[in-house]
């Protein structure tokens, strides 16, 4: 075992032990919350930096023209309960290094959990040798858009309370109380609740002088209440509570115990809801539903790698193609539609100080007044649009959308938070309902499916309300709408104002091969879309 390995282990085991002590000491932990694992002292571990430098040196000596390396320690905690029982309580950590190299315009990537001085050299050489194997005659070389080098510093999620310092008993007690509160409703037969926490400590360095360290938190409390009647069952998921890039304060503010009776009531109410009559309706979409429609129909088709065919074998391509015929000209939706990519929103899931190319992300417009104006990019991709940026007087730079889910995976283009901007009129949910003569209001996300170019989509929800003469007249069930993306966004005629903004989101955005999971938020306001096709999904098989 090398010296740096020993030092490294000493540090990490001390840090881990400290975390466990905090987890077990109840109130005593509270005073440690600000001084414990969250203190800047735990960021930028010199042992990490030493290993990163060693890996970069080894890659350069082996022939890499460019190299970057990431060491990350991911810690996750999952608590699952059902009714009065804890179904699972687990705490996982994984630590390792991934080294990416460019050799004559060809990528190589290798990763290992062996964080020793020898291990990182071996994996750097392995990445270079793989890059050489990946070269073929006549290939189009990878070139990286310029980025400011010498990026140095630390960044940390907007988390007030490190979830790993909160005693597990407290978390379990909260979930079981919420279950109890839901089960007071006699028809709420099954209740599942859970908490998931992630803390990732990631250090990144590249051969252009970047060395940055980030501490990323993600938190998701959730519940599902299932009501059963003879021959029917209906569930209500608590997806009006979104996962967020925050700490345990997000769980506290979610008020699970207070909300549980409502979710139970709503699950029971769904049993008695009227089956929808298929047809065309004006749809009023709640932000707790709309975020997923934005994710699928706007955020995915504006990924540049997808548009250029790089994801054709799995995630698919895009109808927003080819760039030279759509940038600045494609009518994506009505003039009320403004979409922005942004990784700076506090508490959002994609927030970061630097992406996995070492680039500081910037906020950028994707759709402006209904017109498509830009794609999501990484350093490799920004140069593909050099002609457009020159023409429109913008700098050719990456928008900072590079991301890998762990040390073991290669980074590639992933979506930032992609959000619908509020409208100028200060409209709220109730205003949209009272403005609608015949429609359906949808709350919460449900079933979702969209084609590989992001044209044809079908979305369900959690709750459906029938609107007549500007009023909610009852509850519906078995509702799903089918849409074609440009028509759906073209049919947007009312947009909520800043007061009704909500940040939805998900952990499980899948793309790439091997499939990697991205966590992303989508901010939005309530919207109305005229005359959308609604089907009835209730069937007996």
């Amino acid at each position: 075992m090398s010296t740096s390995r020993r030092e490294f282990l000493k540090r990490t085991s001390t840090a881990a032990a400290a975390g466990m002590v905090l987890a077990a000491t109840g109130d005593a932990g509270a005073s440690e919350r600000t001084a414990g694992l969250l203190s800047p002292a735990s960021q930028g571990d010199p042992a990490f930096a030493e290993l990163l430098m060693r890996a970069l040196d080894a890659a350069k000596s082996a022939g890499a023209d460019y190299a970057d390396a990431r060491v990350s320690l991911n810690r996750t905690q999952t608590i699952n309960t059902r009714e009065r029982r804890v179904g699972g309580l687990s705490d996982n950590e994984t630590l390792g290094i991934g080294v990416r190299v460019l050799v004559q315009g060809s990528w190589g990537f290798a990763a290992t959990s062996e964080l020793t001085a020898d291990g990182v050299v071996r994996v750097a050489r392995q990445a270079v040798s793989q890059a050489k194997a990946n070269r073929t005659a006549g290939r189009k070389p990878v070139t990286l858009a310029p980025a400011p080098g010498n990026q140095r510093g630390t960044w940390r999620s907007d988390a007030k309370v490190d979830p790993f310092t909160v005693p597990v008993e407290e978390k379990v007690a909260l979930l079981l109380s919420a279950n109890e509160a839901a089960m007071k409703n006699p028809q709420a037969r099954f209740v599942n609740s859970s908490m998931f926490f992630l803390k990732e400590e990631k250090s990144y360095a590249n051969s252009e002088g970047a060395l940055v360290t980030q501490t990323i938190f993600r938190t998701q409390p959730s519940m599902t209440v299932t009501a059963v009647a003879s021959g029917d069952f209906q569930s209500r998921q608590s997806n009006d509570i979104a996962p967020m890039g925050r700490g345990y304060e997000h769980v506290t503010e979610a008020r699970l115990v207070e909300n549980a009776p409502r979710w139970a009531e709503e699950a029971v109410a769904k049993l008695g809801a009227k089956p929808v009559e298929a047809g065309r309706y004006d749809l009023i979409l709640h932000p707790s539903h709309l975020w997923l429609t934005i994710h699928e129909s706007v955020a995915h088709p504006t990924e540049l790698d997808r548009a250029m065919g790089y994801e054709a074998n799995y995630a698919g391509t895009s109808f927003v193609f080819p760039p030279e015929r759509v940038l600045g000209t494609l009518k994506f939706g009505s003039p009320l539609m403004n979409i922005r990519g942004d990784r700076s929103q506090p508490g959002s899931l994609a927030a970061c100080g630097w992406d996995d190319d070492g680039v500081q992300p910037e906020a950028f417009d994707i759709v402006k007044n209904g017109i498509f104006v830009d794609y999501q990019t990484t350093r490799e991709q920004a140069l593909w649009l050099d002609w457009y940026y020159k023409k429109s007087g913008k700098p050719t730079r990456s928008h900072g959308c590079s991301y890998a889910q762990s040390w073991a995976d290669v980074q590639f283009q992933r979506m930032p938070n992609v959000s619908l901007l509020p409208g100028e009129r200060d409209l709220v949910w109730e205003d949209l309902i009272s403005a609608t003569d015949r429609g359906i209001a949808i709350v919460g996300d449900g079933s979702f499916s969209i084609d590989q170019q992001r044209y044809n989509a079908q979305f369900g929800g959690q709750l459906y309300y029938e609107i007549r003469g500007g009023k909610v007249v009852g509850m519906l069930k078995d509702v799903a709408y089918q849409m074609r993306t440009p028509e759906f966004w073209g049919a947007l005629d009312l947009v909520g104002g800043p007061r009704s903004y909500f940040l939805g989101g998900a952990f499980g955005d899948a793309k790439g091969q091997p499939s990697q999971s991205n966590a992303v938020s989508h901010g939005c306001v309530p919207t109305r879309h005229r005359q959308i096709n609604v089907i009835n999904t209730g069937r007996s098989a």
Partner: protein
């Protein structure tokens, strides 16, 4: 402590190493009962786009999962730090979590030592596939695609892993296996045509990259100029991959507890479950057999229970639902012990025979973005993709636009008109190596296409 099996640093634990590591972990336990699960090995992948390799990755890792029972309380923790401090920390964490947890009323004791058959899922042809060999396999697809003016994209993944489960009662189980999956989507440069082909096995030697590439090229060419036909109920010829995409949804819904609790298709109205009921066509038999050479699986479950061949559906009748150890004990049944993986019965027809038997219908290459709509009927939605053709008078006559379906695998298996020879498919949408799926092509009536998609 780990063994380098090849130059590029692939590592996996041997049986002796796994046993030694498990003993080190269990030696640190102070719990009433403890179980350790080890997973160790190498993964490699090569991606290609625009007829050249885009990215690739090789990684090695060993993970240790410790489950501790303190009294009647359970906690679990995992790490990949294998030094004494890391192992001590993971054991302590699992015990701490257990102590903080309420008693588990559904606790099942750890198993006593068991006897296992030897797993047969390891193939050297997969384990030794390094970046250069992967690049060579890829070029046998990209080369012909480029030569015909088409654009190939795709993915080759290998996994060589050893698994072990050990517990404080002396149980020890060890297995090693490999997986490989190769998929490609070939498109015309203008995006007007798209064709897919893929294959999966435990042995790379069983795959045919050249043939697979040729199939995708052929479909890409023939799919250009797709016309719209009205959505509705169509007779369909489902290629084996498309059948695999949907069949997994049925077996995924066969949880016994959900059925007994009244929240499943397999719940009987008025109580109980559908064990013994005929739910699909009498020609349908579905089994999971970890020792079948076409669908090798691990010889033990995550708890160390020996796996065995399980018949889910026999001649259309539900023969097994999936019982975990707790629910089996409560309901007076044996735990199922399935290794995952699926094999469905078939016939002797080739896919050409099925097409020839179709007066008017649609040929489906694969499905995409399949998501649940209604668990009461196992209703799913999704779309056709990368090779959808109209059949008239027993012949493929032209490409048609893709459809969205809203359909249940139960309905599909009740409407069978013809069955071909089962083959192993790459049934995951993502092209990741998953449990083996061996299925026939099917000729099915009244398949419910509900809308059109402009996506190619």
């Amino acid at each position: 402590m780990r063994r380098a099996t090849q130059e590029q640093g692939a590592t996996s634990l041997s049986r002796a190493e796994a046993e030694a590591l498990a003993r080190r972990v269990l030696g640190k336990s102070t719990a009433t009962e403890a179980r350790v699960s080890l997973s160790s090995g190498a993964r490699g992948n090569t991606r290609f786009a625009e007829n050249q390799i885009s990215t690739a990755g090789d990684n090695t890792n060993t993970s240790v999962v410790v489950r501790s029972v303190v009294g009647k309380k359970v906690g679990q923790a995992a790490t990949n730090r294998l030094d004494d401090a890391g192992l001590k920390a993971v054991v302590e964490m699992s015990e701490r979590l257990a102590r903080l947890s309420p008693d588990d009323p559904e606790l099942v004791p750890e198993l006593e030592p068991q006897r296992y058959q030897e797993g047969k899922g390891w193939s050297e042809s997969t384990a030794r596939l390094d970046p250069a060999l992967r690049a060579a396999a890829v070029s046998s697809i990209t080369g012909p695609a480029r030569a015909t003016g088409l654009v190939s994209t795709g993915y080759l993944e290998t996994r060589a892993t050893t698994f072990a489960v050990a517990n404080s009662k002396g149980l020890f189980a060890y297995d090693k296996d490999t997986d490989v999956v190769l998929t490609t989507t070939v498109r015309t440069p203008d995006g007007a045509g798209s064709g897919w082909a893929g294959g999966a096995s435990n042995a790379f030697s069983a795959l045919d990259p050249v043939g697979l590439g040729a199939r995708a090229v052929d479909k890409a060419r023939k799919s250009v100029g797709a016309m719209a036909i009205e959505p509705g109920r169509y007779t369909v010829v489902l290629e084996p991959t498309a059948v695999g995409n949907l069949l997994q949804l049925l077996t995924g819904a066969m949880n016994a507890r959900n059925a007994d609790e009244g929240r499943s298709f397999f719940s009987k109205p008025g109580g109980g479950n559908k064990l013994g009921d005929k739910v699909v066509d009498g020609r349908v038999t579905i089994v999971s057999d970890p020792f079948d050479p076409e669908s090798f699986g691990t010889p033990f479950t995550g708890e160390g229970l020996p796996t065995r061949p399980v018949t889910w559906i026999e001649n259309g009748v539900v023969r097994n639902l999936n019982y975990d150890r707790y629910w089996a004990g409560r309901q007076g049944r044996e735990p199922t012990g399935s290794a995952g993986g699926l094999k469905m019965s078939g016939g002797n027809d080739t896919i050409e025979h099925l097409i020839a038997a179709c007066e008017r219908g649609v040929l489906v290459t694969r499905f995409w973005y399949i998501r649940g709509v209604d668990p009461r009927s196992i209703l799913y939605t999704g779309l056709t993709r990368d090779g959808t053709f109209l059949i008239e008078k027993g012949k493929i006559v032209r490409p048609v636009k893709n459809f969205r379906f809203n359909e249940s695998p139960v309905v599909m298996l009740n409407n069978i008109l013809g069955m071909g020879t089962p083959v192993r498919v790459s049934a995951s949408e993502s092209g990741n190596a998953g449990a083996p799926v061996v299925v026939p092509p099917l000729l099915v009536r009244d398949f419910n296409f509900t809308s059109l998609s402009d996506a190619v």
